[in-house]
């Protein structure tokens, strides 16, 4: 009897543990966060072993930010080479890191898009996006108009999958440029400075594309208490 009780308690404990583990919410903060709420299910929690839309966003954002951090270190090394000389070995290490992280970001973006394509929208959230005042939001926050236009272009139609598609497309373009830079560094030459300028701009524009989407989602969702209650907003 005592043994039976122990087993029962153990089962309950394991059950609670498993339930708690699967109920851990994973929300991205910086890049495209809260956009998972535009779909059915994932905003409330991921209840399966498979990664949810929210998980893929966190993963892709994490790798993208890391790659962006790497490329800034690369630029710093190029900049400082005027004083300290060029260390191609160091430059190679940095650019390989940037490429590796961007490859992973691209893969996560691809999985994210696939998952989103196979998941129906949450019509309540889409309606919030359709009625959102994009112009006022951009002006009030002083967001970069050219980049915000891209975000608005998709979200005003409730096309969240389109944002993911664009993030993927941009990641591919950045990756192509990184490989072009790698070719130069592998041959112990510095690439044309304009190549570095353009890739830097691409990183920043892609980062803001994700960040502005996150900002819109956060505000749009916050007006609906039923949806907002399901998310633990970080202020």
């Amino acid at each position: 009897m005592c043994r039976q009780k122990k087993r029962l308690l153990l089962k309950i404990f394991i059950g609670v543990f498993v339930f708690a583990t699967f109920n851990v919410a994973s929300y991205a903060y910086i890049w495209a966060n809260y956009s998972e709420c535009g779909f059915e299910g994932p905003c409330e929690r991921s209840l399966s072993y498979n990664l949810s839309i929210g998980d893929y966003i966190v993963e892709s954002a994490g790798y993208f930010l890391k790659s962006h951090s790497d490329i800034l270190l690369f630029l710093e090394s190029v900049e400082m080479s005027e004083m300290n000389g060029i260390d191609y070995k160091e430059l190679r290490t940095i650019i390989y890191g940037a490429i590796e992280n961007m490859e992973k970001a691209k893969e996560s973006c691809f999985n994210l898009k696939q998952k989103a394509d196979a998941t129906p929208y949450n019509q309540n959230v889409i309606n919030l996006l359709l009625s959102f005042d994009y112009n006022a939001f951009q002006e009030e926050r002083g967001l970069n108009i050219d980049i915000f236009k891209d975000v608005e272009r998709f979200l005003v139609k409730g096309d969240v999958r389109g944002i993911y598609g664009l993030l993927l497309e941009n990641s591919c373009e950045i990756l192509d440029k990184l490989y072009a830079i790698k070719d130069f560094v592998d041959a112990d030459t510095l690439p044309d400075i304009s190549m570095l300028w353009r890739v830097n701009q691409d990183y920043m524009e892609n980062l803001f594309l994700g960040q502005y989407a996150a900002e819109v989602f956060k505000l749009a969702i916050s007006v609906d208490k039923n949806i907002a209650n399901k998310i633990e907003f970080k202020k």
């Binding site: 991205a28 994490g62 270190l73 900049e79 400082m80 400075i193 304009s194």
Partner: protein, 225 residues
Amino acid sequence: MIKQSIQIVLKVFIGIIILLALNHNSFAYIIANRGDSIFDNDWERKFSMKSYIIEGAGYFLKSYSDYLLFLNRIEMSELNGIDYNELRIILKKAIENMQNAKNAYYNLKRTAKATPYNQDLINLLLSFDYDNFQKAKGLNRDTFKYIKIYLKKGDVRGIFCRLQKNSGKILDKLYLIKDSIDIDSFPDISILWRVNKKYSHTILFGQYAAEVFQSIIFGNKGERQ
């Protein structure tokens, strides 16, 4: 007689060394590069300005790289959990590098203030076709318009001053984030967004200035010289 000859040779040698040192080409590439070229032929000051531009850009880029790593950890905390000790270390580096960038830009601003402009190059800035340049290179309009405001008036010192001011503003916000992290509290996401915006705006601002300078000095080749 021999002593006199040796003295002359020595003087010529030292003269060559000094000339070579002052003519040493050290150009910043990424932020505000060639900005020093817009000033008159005071080689000593120009050399200092180049060094400050490189130093400022180097520290600024490093600080932004640190900050993006910080954002990476914040983002990944949703999957891996949050490690405040690691966040503190990364943020400390971002602050240190930004403080150094701000100091370098302060020195740059002071040196530029004491150095006269090269009027020929200023004239090139005054007559430069900014709108065409922005379109042809696909530069971000919102950021480029600020560069245009300064450079169409030939106000290169204003660019340096803006770089120093922005560095100061970023530094203030980094300290705000530090206050949260120091008490193991998650920082306000909207502050993280705003700091990110200021960093990238400032880098693009400096980069676009560099692109314009490069264009007026070397033509529209955009090549690394």
